[in-house]
């Protein structure tokens, strides 16, 4: 509960003060709260998939809200495109999580496959960060 409260506080602080740096911490606190709360149910089930997608949606909406300044007039076409983009991303995330759920449910050896996929994804993320960092 404390972690959830902290996550909400961080999210609110980020939205009010327009500081996007607090959003990842809010998401991390939520994820930690979920993991702690589901101790003993260490499975990648629909609950975890839904949480992941919801956290992505919350983060996207929070970033969008911070990006929009009250002084800035935003064209409707841009708002539509952004909404469609977020919807597409959420749908893609749902599909990805569904695929991962399917993988974990197939065979015991799938855990190894999952671990390998996780390692590859972690390396890819680090590579992206190194390539796309500020210059």
């Amino acid at each position: 509960m404390a972690a959830v409260g902290l996550a909400l506080a961080l999210l609110l602080a980020g939205l009010v003060l327009r500081r996007g740096g607090t959003i990842p911490w809010a998401v991390a606190c939520c994820a930690a709260a979920s993991v702690v709360g589901r101790a003993g149910h260490a499975t990648a089930d629909a609950h975890a998939a839904a949480l992941g997608v919801l956290l992505l949606l919350a983060a996207e909406l929070a970033w969008w809200s911070i990006d929009l300044s009250p002084r800035l007039h935003v064209e409707r076409a841009l708002v539509r495109m952004k909404a469609v983009g977020i919807a597409g991303l959420v749908a893609g995330a749902l599909a990805l999580d569904g695929f991962l759920l399917a993988l974990t449910g197939i065979t015991p050896g799938s855990r190894v496959t999952l671990a390998a996929l996780g390692m590859a994804a972690a390396v890819a993320v680090l590579a992206l960060v190194l390539r796309g960092g500020p210059r």
């Binding site: 996007g20 740096g21 959003i23 990842p24 998401v27 991390a28 994820a31 993991v35 589901r38 260490a42 499975t43 990648a44 089930d45 609950h47 975890a48 949480l51 992941g52 956290l55 992505l56 983060a59 996207e60 970033w63 969008w64 990006d67 002084r71 800035l72 007039h73 935003v74 064209e75 076409a77 841009l78 495109m81 952004k82 983009g85 991303l89 959420v90 893609g92 995330a93 990805l96 999580d97 991962l100 759920l101 974990t104 855990r111 999952l114 671990a115 996780g118 390692m119 994804a121 972690a122 890819a124 993320v125 680090l126 992206l128 960060v129 390539r131 796309g132 960092g133 500020p134 210059r135």
Partner: protein, 423 residues
């Protein structure tokens, strides 16, 4: 146009979340962390390839580079996108006293590849001056907002807002005229319309100038002499050492508007008008005539501002051709700075035909409520009256002009003084 590329905090945040979730999933053996972190990795995987630097151009077109104070002008921002821009934030820098009355600034929009878009703005020029618009600051982002490209387009068109001039029915008549044709009746005798005198006929005089009645009485030919119409030289002397200001209006604003009105009135009469901006920054324009010269005078006035200076200046610093002999000098001054008063008395001592319009700072002040401060305020007002009396004693016509009163009123007061002084 220099572009600065940066990664948004979102990129770093998503990358950290994804990496943390995946590594924690492996380290703690909690597969649900993988399901939580996977969407963020997906966002990065989808967004990163789309984050390519957009290429676009921005131009600023202004409807007119001159307008009147209070008018509106149209400004067009022309955007040409070479590549698609998922999000483009645009802001046109506006100087003080220029406001947007139609259109949006700043604005956020999207551009397709090859698209050409025009954004229309209408700007209100609330005060006279030389207003430089721009620059245009742009910030582009990819579809997921992972990267930003910021640039400043250094396009800065200049818009000149001319002061609104009051229409003057009559202006001050200089005592001496010059040699060129104009609208002022000269005291000298020559060829003109106004009758001046009779003189005996000499060979070469036009027959039409013979006054037959006088000739019949005298039994010899007499011709009419007239006062020719000549032009005059007028120097407008603007005191910019100090001003009194309350809110958006001040004595310098009044002086500039009055100077523009006087310049137009005299130039319309085919007189030559010069300008002296006497203050922290010294400006001058030698006398000239015509519409082009009016624009020169107005442009010089637009740049007039109060610049604090402790350097003692007198009129010796002015080039001689700026103050031609026999010119009428009309000074517009709030009489706040001793240097201006000294320069005016110096001009009079050198024999210039001088008239002073005291642009009163009193409406821009309030009498303090305290006893000592109130007395000091009263003493200050008495000091100003003393300055005016000192100028009158030097045969300088002075009239006080307050904000809200028509400029014609002090001009008529000065005319009356000049008429009495020379009767």
């Amino acid at each position: 146009m220099t572009t600065f590329r940066s990664a948004s905090p979102k990129l770093t945040g998503y990358a950290l979340l994804g990496a943390l979730a995946l590594l924690a999933s492996l380290a703690l053996g909690r597969p649900e962390l993988l399901a939580i972190g996977a969407p963020f990795v997906l966002a990065l995987a989808v967004g990163a390839p789309l984050a390519t630097e957009p290429r676009f151009a921005v131009q600023v077109e202004v409807e007119a580079d001159r307008a009147l104070e209070g008018d509106e002008i149209g400004v067009r921002l022309v955007l040409e996108a070479e590549t698609a821009v998922a999000r483009l934030d645009l802001s046109l820098g506006l100087p003080e006293n220029v406001e947007v009355c139609e259109g949006s600034n700043p604005v956020s929009l999207a551009l397709a590849a090859g698209e050409r878009r025009q954004l229309e703005l209408r700007l209100a020029l609330q005060r006279f001056g030389a207003h430089r618009l721009g620059p245009v600051v742009t910030r582009a982002a990819d579809p997921l907002g992972l990267r930003r490209w910021e640039s400043v387009v250094d396009v800065r068109p200049l818009v000149r807002a001319h002061p609104r001039e009051e229409l003057l029915r009559r202006v001050l008549r200089p005592r001496e005229t010059q040699v060129y044709a104009g609208n002022e009746v000269s005291r000298h005798k020559g060829v003109g319309i106004e009758f001046a005198d009779l003189r005996p006929f000499v060979f070469g005089d036009p027959v039409r100038r013979i006054n037959w009645r006088a000739s019949a009485r005298r039994a010899e030919l007499y011709v009419n002499q007239s006062h020719p119409e000549r032009n005059t030289d007028v120097i407008l002397f603007v005191d910019s050492f100090a001003e009194a200001r309350l809110g958006d209006e001040g004595t310098l604003d009044l002086a500039v508007r009055a100077t523009a009105a006087l310049a137009r009135a005299y130039l319309t009469r085919r007189d030559r008008v010069g300008l002296v901006g006497f203050g922290g920054i010294l400006r001058w324009l030698t006398p000239g005539s015509g519409l082009t010269h009016l624009y020169r005078i107005v442009d010089a006035l637009l740049d007039t501002e109060i610049v604090l200076s402790y350097y003692w200046k007198n009129i010796d610093v002015l080039p001689r051709r700026t103050l031609p002999p026999n010119a009428l000098v009309i000074a517009l001054s709030p009489l706040l700075d001793a240097r201006s008063v000294g320069a005016l008395l110096d001009l009079r001592a050198r024999g210039f035909d001088l008239a002073v319009i005291d642009v009163s700072p009193v409406p821009f002040t309030t009498r303090p409520s305290g006893d000592v401060e109130g007395v000091a305020y009263d003493v200050w007002r008495l000091h100003r009256e003393m300055l005016r009396q000192r100028l009158r004693q030097a045969a300088v016509a002075v009239a006080e002009w307050r904000s809200g009163d028509p400029l014609q009123a002090p001009l008529e007061e000065v005319r009356a003084f000049r008429r009495r002084a020379y009767v």
